[in-house]
Symmetry: D2
């Protein structure tokens, strides 16, 4: 039986650079080592690499999918959630986590970062977006330099709303 425990989301592009994939895989491994359940959008790229990393260390992976069936899930998703609501599932990905690690990513990732910050869920960034509003820097995204630092900060800041 899985006890109720920590859930951390890893977000990023469904296509990504080799460097981002390595980072994501390392994040996935480190989350698994620390006993954290990985939540993601269930598709390829950063999501797949993170799930692969978690699997290699015996971790649990949840993929919250946009489409109509579970077959779009990457092969490392153990628990596919099939929403059928398209990109609106981005909100569910971050709300199901106590902290979010963003790796690279495009506008879909930015929408997930936005939904997390709107909900008061901490976001740790690895080579991802930075924000400013009305010409003032917004420092809500907490920067990390590497996978281990990202995971440590995410666990430390994980909120229990």
């Amino acid at each position: 039986m899985i006890n109720k425990k920590r859930f951390i989301a890893v977000i990023g592009g469904s296509q990504c650079s080799p460097k981002e994939a390595r980072l994501a895989e390392e994040v996935g491994r480190e989350l698994a080592r620390q006993g954290v359940i990985l939540v993601c959008g269930g598709l390829g790229g950063v999501m797949e690499a993170a799930c692969k990393g978690a699997n290699s260390e015996g971790g649990v992976t949840i993929g919250i999918l946009p489409g109509e069936n579970h077959q779009a899930a990457n092969p490392y998703v153990q628990i596919p959630i099939v929403t059928g609501i398209g990109h609106a599932r981005n909100m569910a990905v971050v709300k199901s986590a106590q902290a979010v690690i963003a790796i690279g990513g495009s506008y879909g990732t930015l929408s997930e970062i936005s939904h997390a910050l709107q909900s008061g869920i901490p976001v740790i960034g690895l080579n991802t977006w930075s924000l400013s509003r009305n010409s003032k820097q917004d420092n809500s995204i907490i920067l990390a330099q590497n996978a281990t630092e990202a995971v440590d900060k995410a666990i430390e800041l994980a909120t229990d709303q």
Copy 2:
């Protein structure tokens, strides 16, 4: 590590009769004994009773919640998915399963039955809705007489879309 396996949804009212609760708990226990992961809407009533039963036999329980945080989940939900999309999460509950067991229930449950049948996901009914259209009986909901029969039929009919 959880291998990818069978997911069956249990749906029904967030308030229910003692008889429905007993049925749901037995369904939950039987699903767990057969190694099936239980998916539900994560709240009280039939959902809570089913999760309680699954927990008592060491099963895994997923609760796909309508609201904005995981604290609305019943205490037997191990994996809370926080959607923030209200009753639109009903669709995700059934789409994330390969078969659905409906116990009693009101209009929310009927919407879940509808979404399942629309998606070609088998629905097993225990004291629940029956349907007719244009005065012709619709026999899409497969009747079961007790918890064990419901679980056996659900496992037998579980589709892999």
Copy 3:
């Protein structure tokens, strides 16, 4: 300028029989004559016929679409709402109305009927589903014999939640 006024949803299959199409068109015409704004799911079949009828009498038509762009709307939709959330938009169709007229329809229509009844929104039925629960007839769907009667009942029962 459109004043805030009555909104009534017409629901039914995206494919339908010629008889259902005639009924839907007549319902659309009658809604327009009575100054009611027609809400629907924006696609073909019953939805298109109802919008066509409303257009022919100078009425206003809103189509709440499941997909990612407005081009799936039937040609009689004047105000396309593009949700991108798939069948989860069924809920928005009925919640945006003060009463619902159901014509024929399959499981998608049944999910809309369920969501309406769950929300306390009156449902008028023309050759559509009938429901029973635990072997007791559920008379929540109010029967009508023809288009005019359906529209009259819908207007009479339209709730202002």
Copy 4:
């Protein structure tokens, strides 16, 4: 009858500064003068000011609401769409428009900007977010200096996907 025409979304905070409210009202007025239908999230702040402006010039206003009933709409919304899907309605607001004008705003607005850019819908910004990724400026948000310029650019860039 409303002919099918241009739809432009105005997005921004449900609470806003007096300066933002003035800007939004002017944007609403200008959209109405140009015969554009205004789409928004239907609540207060920037949304209400924009709808007020549009009303004052005889324009049409659509409010796509997050909650369960239309009574949360600001008094200048003529066509309330009730989604019941919470912040996931942000996606529908931008997808229902051919261009988006963002005025100020916080993380909810940022999620709308993200969804628009992800869908290839042009975003015009007035004192709003600016973005950079991996330390490179992202110039996808088109800057405007005042309400008239914002509306002119939005109309010019309005896509017909």
